[in-house]
């Protein structure tokens, strides 16, 4: 508990962590609030349907979970940041049982990810509601979309925070880890999802979306949520990623010297 408390304290002291929370919220707001305008201005040119349809309005709100990217980046900073600033030496000298330190860091990253996603998802949902006020003909959202989006926000925040910390521990280089996460989430995953949906549905973005239980498709951009996993299976898969990477990080940290 002492180590966990120290990790949480360390995070609250760092401006970069607060910056991640703000960035996550802004990203979520941007994604959610801009969607009605994009859909309305395209006039169904994207093939998703119009705001008069409930599942399309649900899609608007589902974008509120998109801050999960920053939960993962925050997790990376929790561990890789220590190696970047050279504070890893002081940390592991003060607490030489590396497994415990890393565990505390991952739990702290999970808690921070949860906090980040709580803020980001809530502000995203609110911004979606405000944006939809500009479209009086828009359908009402299904009641479960709010619960599912909140649930996805919570799960993705915790799990991707832990996953980010594990990746930070494995790579140690902050730049490499941050670039790797961004390339993975913004380039590789969307490409895989579009070109190989049967494989892409097991990737992080699809798993987070699957928890929202969204029903949306577009032949124009070759996207459908039909083949996505069930919310529970998707959540378990996400958790599986975190567990596997956490174990790899723990084993690796025992074997490598601290520089």
């Amino acid at each position: 508990m002492r180590l966990l408390g120290a990790e949480l304290r360390k995070m609250t002291y760092q401006r970069a962590m607060w910056g991640m929370v703000i960035a996550g919220a802004l990203f979520s707001v941007l994604g959610t609030a801009s969607t009605p305008f994009i859909l309305a201005s395209s006039g169904d040119g994207l093939g998703f349907g119009t705001l008069a349809e409930q599942n399309v309005v649900d899609t608007v709100y589902a974008n509120a979970v998109s801050g999960y990217i920053f939960a993962m980046l925050l997790g990376v900073l929790v561990v890789a940041g220590e190696f970047r600033h050279g504070t890893a030496v002081a940390t592991f000298v003060a607490a030489p049982k590396r497994g415990r330190v890393l565990l505390a860091k991952m739990v702290a990253a999970g808690i921070a990810g949860l906090a980040l996603q709580s803020v980001a998802t809530a502000t995203g949902l609110l911004s979606g509601y405000i944006a939809l006020l500009f479209y009086p003909d828009a359908a009402r959202a299904s009641p479960e979309i709010f619960i599912n989006t909140a649930l996805s926000g919570v799960v993705s925040g915790v799990v991707l925070g832990i996953l980010g910390a594990a990746i930070g521990a494995l790579l140690r280089s902050q730049v490499l880890a941050l670039m790797g996460v961004l390339l993975w989430l913004f380039a590789l995953e969307p490409i895989m999802l579009l070109l190989f949906p049967a494989i892409g549905k097991y990737f992080l973005t699809a798993l987070v979306t699957a928890i929202v239980a969204l029903d949306v498709e577009s032949e124009v951009v070759n996207f459908t949520t039909d083949s996505f996993l069930s919310p529970l299976t998707a959540a378990l898969f996400l958790l599986g990623y975190a567990v596997v990477f956490a174990i790899l990080a723990l084993v690796s940290s025992m074997r490598r010297d601290i520089d």
């Binding site: 304290r9 360390k10 760092q14 030496v89 000298v93 003060a94 030489p96 049982k97 601290i258």
Partner: protein, 235 residues
Amino acid sequence: MAAIVFRNLTKTYGKAIAVDNLSAEVQPGRITGFLGPNGAGKSTALRCLVALATPTKGRTRILGHGYRYLRNPQTRVGVVLDSRGFHPGLTAYQNLRVLTSMGGIDKSRIDDVLAEVELTDARNKRVKGFSLGMKQRLSLASALLGSPEVLVLDEPANGLDPAGIAWLRGFIKSQAEKGTTVFVSSHQLAELETIVDDVIILHKGKMVASGPIAEVTGGESLENAFLSLTGGGLS
């Protein structure tokens, strides 16, 4: 019982041998200089001692245990390995507060140790604005937080000006007077000559001499003794 023990310590990186079969002891309550030129293997040996690096062969003990198995090590051993160990965006107080949280140390110690290293005025300044000397003193403050029995200091004089080095000598002496065991490394042999009781001298990873300074130097300066022990070369 010796405060610190190196027993047949060897550390290699690929084919390069950083520390070669080092066996030495540091006696409690004394100031022991761990001396040798840059690249002699001092820092590597110290990193093995505090469990940051795993020995290839041999073992180290500190206060009778492997460092990793010390109960709350901050309260037993104060360690200064480099002056980079602080988050530049945090203040001196915040950096030390994180360490007290980790060790369950009362936060009132922070102001005590900042006063001890004469950094009280910089308490709420971000570390990124610190000079190298201030960072070194903050490192020393962090090592003192848990009122340890042993201080392990790796090149604490690095980057200090002559006044800073004089201050450091006084600091080390004052710690020893309180009964603290001080194990301090340096590549500048003359720097600590006047304050150490014992020396362990490394050259190219191997120990070339150890014992009370008077015995090792035989009345000569430490630098001359070192040159004759190593055949004259510093690198």
